[in-house]
């Protein structure tokens, strides 16, 4: 781990230790003794030393955000994306409506109809981002890995309708090559193939 990657290490629990707390003084005499002890031990200067050493060591942890960015976890849940099939470029969404059903803030709506080949297609897909709480249930429930959470967390806008339409979320056809397979919420685990019981086929 080097550079910005180290900040992603959240596995810090092994460094925890218990702080010893001395008993609280009860009598004035004890309190006086504590004052004397602390003064003679120059406890105040310990604090000063720590801060001074930090300054001299100059180990700055600041990420200067717009210029520098932390890499975000694949499970990060930012504004949704609708993915396409990598080979054909067809939309993955089959309009099953599970995301609509599971959405706990009730902010997804889909219009569907049969297309010219008789397949179900979503003609329109919207998420009301004024309501969305980015819980990730929609991505988790999606059987086709079609609705996923993108990595683009910079979504300030003048209109709340922004980012919410199908054309905003769907991978543009010319960007198909840049589309990344989604490893986050609801994506199959690396060992998924091993866990599946195969259906016997007669052919």
């Amino acid at each position: 781990m080097n550079g910005l990657e180290q900040f992603k290490d959240r596995n810090v629990s092994q460094n925890y230790y218990r702080v010893k707390i001395e008993p609280y003084p009860k009598t004035p005499w004890e309190r006086f003794k504590r004052v004397v002890r602390r003064s003679l031990r120059l406890e105040l200067f310990v604090g000063l030393k720590i801060t001074l050493m930090e300054m001299l060591r100059f180990k700055i942890h600041t990420i200067q955000y717009p210029k520098e960015k932390l890499p975000i976890s694949p499970r990060y849940r930012a504004v949704h994306k609708l993915l396409r099939l990598l080979e054909s470029g067809n939309e993955r969404c089959i309009g099953c409506g599970l995301c609509e059903k599971i959405c706990i803030s009730n902010c997804i709506r889909i219009d569907t109809r049969p297309d010219e080949n008789g397949r179900k297609i979503p003609t329109e897909y919207t998420i009301n981002f004024g309501r969305c709480i980015f819980c990730g249930y929609c991505a988790e429930v999606c059987p086709e890995l079609a609705i996923v959470h993108g990595q683009d967390y910079e979504h300030a806008s003048e209109q709340r309708a922004q980012f919410a339409l199908k054309e905003d979320m769907l991978t543009p056809l010319d960007k198909l090559k840049e589309q990344k397979e989604y490893p986050g919420f609801g994506a199959p685990t690396p060992a998924a193939d091993k866990l599946i019981k195969k259906t016997p086929l007669a052919y």
């Binding site: 105040l44 000063l48 720590i50 801060t51 930090e54 942890h61």
Partner: protein, 330 residues
């Protein structure tokens, strides 16, 4: 001669005003940077190189911000209060000799606006007047937090005024003068002549009292956000609010100069370091100390503050005066 004196004084006043206003601003930048470094941060970085122009940006912001006077406030007092703070801070500087004498074009300049023979008394007195600023501001705001802040001001400043006075009494007894130039001259001749060696207790007491007088952590109770929102300054905005802070930072410099002059040898040459540089280094060390303490220590409760003042510092100061007297007698 008379007109030259007037011109000289006016120039000195303008220099002190301009310089210390600028220094106050710069001190805010330094404070933010030092605090940030001590906390593994970078501090302001966006305005100018390393955020240097942040001070300017803050200044523009303060000047252009709406001057807001709340409906329930006493307008006149509300408007005057910050002026008292800023003015008293600058007036106090009038009796402080900043540098050694120097000559420009044959004209000898004494870098003190007015060398009065009760200089120390004047400085302490005028600084004490500064308490009227926060006190009146808080009382005039018509706001509970402000009023609480004002009450704390009165208690804290008045109490620590006693400690300040008593702590400098012992050096005054030794030097035998209230003029700060006399103090300086008394310590001429190297580090060993510094009063701090003779009066270490007085030095520490004066420094602690100085933290309280300038309303710095760990004694920043007047406007502590977590307790009284912003204390006396709750209702202030724009440049009026800014004046309180110019006052506070100017006071920091004043205390810095006083401590340097009384205890740390003033503007006497320090080995190869010329006196002017020496006193600047000393003053900036004190400024740094203020900031350093803020980064390191938590602030204390008002009752602890009072306890420290009346039950610890004042008895020690009195004992110190008595011992000094006894030592001088024999």
């Amino acid at each position: 001669m008379e007109s030259a004196f007037v011109i000289e004084t006016i120039i000195k006043i303008l220099v002190v005003l301009g310089l210390f206003s600028a220094l106050a601003g710069f001190a805010t930048y330094v404070e933010r940077k030092v605090l940030a470094f001590m906390q593994r941060r970078l501090g302001p970085m966006h305005v100018g190189p390393w955020g240097l122009l942040q001070v300017l940006a803050d200044g523009i912001k303060l000047f252009t911000k709406e001057d807001f006077i709340p409906q329930g406030a006493n307008r006149i007092i509300f408007m005057i209060a910050p002026v008292i703070t800023a003015a008293s801070a600058f007036i106090a500087m009038a009796a402080i000799p900043m540098f050694p004498e120097f000559t420009i074009g044959g004209y000898t300049v004494r870098p003190i606006i007015s060398d009065i023979n009760v200089g120390l008394l004047f400085v302490l007195g005028v600084m004490a007047i500064g308490l009227y600023g926060p006190l009146l501001a808080g009382m005039a705001s018509g706001n509970k937090w402000s009023l609480l802040g004002a009450a704390r001001t009165a208690v804290q400043f008045l109490s620590y005024e006693v400690v300040t006075g008593l702590s400098v009494l012992a050096p005054v007894m030794i030097v035998g003068s209230l003029s700060l130039i006399d103090f300086n001259n008394y310590q001429a001749g190297g580090i060993s002549n510094w009063l701090v060696w003779k009066q270490p207790v007085a030095f520490i007491l004066f420094l602690i009292a100085g933290f309280a007088e300038t309303n710095r952590t760990p004694f920043d109770l007047l406007e502590h956000e977590a307790e009284v929102i912003s204390g006396y300054a709750t209702e202030y905005s724009g440049m009026r609010w800014g004046m309180f802070f110019i006052g506070e930072y100017a006071n920091m410099f004043t205390i810095g100069f006083l401590a340097s002059l009384i205890f740390l040898g003033g503007f006497n040459d320090l080995g190869f370091i010329p006196g002017a540089i020496a006193i600047l280094l000393k003053v900036f060390f004190f400024i740094f100390l203020f900031i350093w303490a803020r980064a390191s220590w938590p602030h204390i409760r008002p009752d602890q503050l009072m306890w420290l003042c009346w039950k610890v510092l004042m008895p020690i100061a009195v004992i110190n005066v008595v011992i000094t007297g006894i030592v001088m007698m024999f």
